[in-house]
């Protein structure tokens, strides 16, 4: 009797290992519907740089700003980011409206800002390019780096002469 139990136990262990191995191989092989995304971008705040702001709105509280942002869809891509106005020097001075939080996306080049503003308007969202560059004091990520480099090589991930103080 004991021999039978031992044999059954051994069989169960072997079967379990086999199932585990098959499952491991199965999970390692990418299925047709799996998405393996590329490397993540480093969140560049452009601290100290002079940046162009595309403004989507100003709100009293972060909650209001988050709620407004959730309602502004840009298809499957990221649109605006919620930031406190204090994150940029010279920001509040240009707005002249109450509120401490804004929906923004920031850029180093005028082409990048104009392209985003045009897209936002096409999606039916407000988009104003502030006339004067603001100085980034660091803080939260606000979309920097999501514009084409002027030489056409890829995304612009470094300061340019216009963005340097």
């Amino acid at each position: 009797m004991r021999k039978v139990f031992l044999t059954l136990g051994a069989c169960a262990v072997v079967a379990g290992m086999a199932v585990g191995a098959v499952a491991a191989i199965g999970s390692a092989a990418p299925g047709p519907h799996e998405r393996s995304l590329g490397p993540t971008m480093k969140p560049d705040t452009g601290a100290g740089e002079l940046l162009l702001v595309v403004l989507g709105g100003v709100y009293e509280t972060r909650q209001e700003a988050e709620a407004a942002n959730a309602g502004m869809t840009f298809g499957d891509v990221q649109g605006y980011y919620v930031v406190p106005l204090a994150q940029f020097q010279g920001f509040r001075e240009q707005l002249g409206s109450p509120g401490d939080f804004a929906l923004v996306s920031v850029f180093r080049t005028e082409e990048g800002a104009a392209e985003f503003a045009a897209a936002a308007q096409m999606f039916g969202h407000p988009a104003t390019i502030l006339p004067t560059r603001v100085r980034s004091l660091g803080g939260l990520y606000a979309g920097l780096g999501q514009e084409a480099a002027p030489d056409g090589s890829g995304p612009l991930m470094a300061p340019i002469p216009d963005s340097l103080p």
């Binding site: 995304l37 490397p39 971008m41 298809g75 891509v77 990221q78 084409a148 995304p155 612009l156």
Partner: protein, 203 residues
């Protein structure tokens, strides 16, 4: 039994069959010719790049995100519901090659602007392409910090107003999704984004 059929009746039947076959032989090419001429379109299937799988292959085939080629070509596409003509931009390798339908835009293949678009029009399913049509956009995927396939100009959103992201069912795009699939594209419905078509797998 059959031999009891009257010869005149047999001749009449043969004449009818010949007439029908002749009519088909004449009318089918004429109809097809008229159809093509009307649409100004011929399917070329010229120089398609292989559809990449995963990030590395996308970069190897189409370059860095937001590079100059990613937005090099544009095409007019009029939405059927609001008659607005959109100008989605896309990668140089996915279209812009001169054809009857497309002026020379310096592109390298006939994929999107001639073959996919032409098939959709020719199959009379263009009526299902509704407002909200765009291609290249140098942005990350919503809520992430990884590049969207739009940043390479290898994705196009169609009928965005009718096909919200997150919906795992399609309302209008299902009527022409087969055309994209037959030309190397993946439909975003696979990951509950029915407005989205991308020329890449595993991403």
């Amino acid at each position: 039994m059959g031999s009891s059929e009257h010869p005149r009746e047999r001749r009449r039947r043969r004449q009818l069959a010949v007439t029908v076959v002749s009519a088909v032989l004449v009318l089918v090419p004429l109809t097809l010719g008229w159809h093509w001429a009307k649409a100004g379109w011929r399917d070329w299937h010229y120089n398609y790049p292989a559809t990449p799988t995963g990030y590395t292959q996308i970069v190897n085939r189409f370059g860095q995100p937001c590079n100059a080629d990613a937005s090099a070509i544009s095409m007019p596409w009029t939405a059927s519901d609001n008659n607005q003509t959109y100008s989605p931009r896309f990668h140089k390798k996915l279209g812009g090659y001169p054809t009857e339908m497309v002026p020379n835009k310096g592109g390298r293949s006939t994929n999107l602007d001639n073959d996919v678009y032409g098939h959709i029009q020719n199959d009379h399913v263009g009526q299902y392409a509704k407002s909200g049509i765009w291609g290249y956009f140098c942005r990350t995927i919503k809520g992430t910090s990884t590049w969207s396939t739009h940043a390479w100009g290898i994705a196009i959103d169609i009928s965005a107003a009718y096909e919200p992201q997150g919906s795992c069912r399609s309302t209008v795009n299902r009527n022409f999704a087969y055309v994209f699939r037959n030309h190397g594209w993946r439909w975003g419905l696979d990951f509950c984004d029915p407005m989205h078509f991308q020329y890449a797998f595993g991403y």
